[in-house]
Each structure stands twice: as structure tokens, then as C-alpha cells.
Subunit: 117 residues, 2 copies
DNA sequence: ACATTACATACCCATATGGGTATGAGTCAA
DNA sequence: TTGACTCATACCCATATGGGTATGTAATGT
């Protein structure tokens, strides 16, 4: 077997710097492919291929408008990464004491509860 | 060019599920290679190779003791991942309003300031 | 001395990557 | 209709992956 496909999950998709760059650009809002090509300074087919990977893991969505395809961000597939890496936060953050833990947990519970304010 | 080496950075190293699994096991504390082999249920050379990758990106450190090598976690290389993915948190967490932002920033400043309480 | 244990490394293999160029398909303008 | 533009796909290539088996090298045990 070779390495897992880049389209396996967000972990693999996001391992590529160029794809993170694309997501960083899309944070600001929708962008056409040509826009991204210009911003990244690479040939168009390459951008299209990266976008395909991001699409397949659900990190971007497309909207057709004339002959343009407008790509927009969808960060939700990043949540597993965030959740996983968050377990290790105390490892590098020496100042991560009991108070912080409580605050974190409260914040987490709030989010899990959904809309309930 | 092919895909970036797994030893390029933590992003690539951690894209492999088995390597995340190893880190998850090391959170509990030091482990010998044989220990990990047993826990993972794969052949020893494969574990050694994964450990090599993790070592090269600084995610684990080794300590020799007799004929055993005890591996321990070092989470710091995960910080860039955490920092990057954190920007996107508001994307999936619909309940991430202005108050949360302020709290986040305060917390971040505190951490950046280091030990100063 | 010899066997055993613990680990790393050397190979071999199939796979699919990121890069590139060339081409196809759809949309719009003259 | 013809041409220009936007984008996706089809290929080709070098690379190194994750998986495996076989082998080497210390350290311990007898």
C-alpha cells in the first residue's frame, strides 16, 4: 500500500501547504479559479486539482456563475483536526492550569449544547 | 515532484492515522517499542519506521534503557497545526459570537505573555 | 560462549502524489 | 459562426510512501 489518498480526510488534504493557502484565501470570501491562480502564482490545472481534493473532503463548495466557478470555504471538516490537536495543547502550553481547564470545559459544553444560549 | 515528505512538518507526519494513534498512546506516558507494537497490532519494523518519522519532526523523543528504547511525547510541533486550524473555528461553530472572540483573545494574550501572571 | 530479546535498517512492491503540458467542454462576445 | 475566455480532465513523470520480509546490531540471560 502507498500513502493514504489526500482525499481520505481533512488531515491528509490539509497536509499540503498549497491547499492550506487556498483555504486561507477563501476565508475572505468567494473566489474564482482564475483569482486563485493569480494569487497563488501557479498554473491553472494545478489549482483545479487542489480544489478537487478540497471539494472531495468537503472543505470547499462551488457555485457556477457564467463561465466562472466560485469557490467558497466550508471549515467544518477541520473540526476533527481541531478536536484531536486540542488534547495536546497542555503539552506545549506550560501555563495551562486548572482554571484554564475549567474555562475550556465550560466553553466546550456551551458549544455542544448548540443554539441554547 | 511527488507529495511532500512525511518528515517535512507535523502536518504531514500527523496525516497518517497510525502515527496519531502512537501519539495518543504516548499521552499516557513513556512506552517501549514492543509495547507500541502490541498495542497497535502491527509488525515491529513498521512501528519503528513510524517512530522515526515522528522523531524527525520532533513529536517524540527517545531514551535508551538497556535494550529498550522508551519513547515519550513532545507535543510542541503540534502548535502550528493548532494555531492554523483555530482560525477556522468560527466557521463550524455557529455559536461563536463577539463575546467568545474577546474571551479567546484574552486567553491567547495570557498565554503569549508566558509566566507572568 | 551461546541463545534470546529489542530494536533499527535494508530491501522490494504497488500506489498515487504534485508538478507540468496538452486538450476538451462550456460560456460569452463580436 | 468564429473567437476568446474559464475551467476541468487526460496524460506523463519522478518521487517516496506504507506495507511487508529479511537481516544486522546491541544488550541481557543462561
Amino acid at each position: 500500500m502507498a500513502r493514504a489518498a489526500t482525499t481520505t480526510d481533512a488531515f491528509n488534504a490539509v497536509a499540503e501547504p498549497r491547499r492550506r493557502q487556498i483555504l486561507d484565501l477563501l476565508v475572505a470570501g468567494e473566489r474564482s479559479v482564475t483569482d486563485l491562480v493569480e494569487a497563488l502564482g501557479v498554473v491553472q490545472p494545478l489549482v483545479s486539482k487542489h480544489l478537487r481534493v478540497l471539494r472531495e473532503v468537503g472543505l470547499v463548495e462551488v457555485r457556477e456563475e457564467g463561465r466562472q466557478r466560485l469557490y467558497r470555504l466550508n471549515g467544518e471538516p477541520l473540526k476533527p483536526i481541531h478536536d484531536w490537536v486540542r488534547q495536546y495543547e497542555r503539552t506545549w502550553s506550560s501555563r495551562f492550569d486548572a482554571l484554564d481547564d475549567v474555562l475550556e470545559e465550560l466553553k466546550q459544553e456551551e458549544e455542544d449544547n448548540g443554539t441554547g444560549h
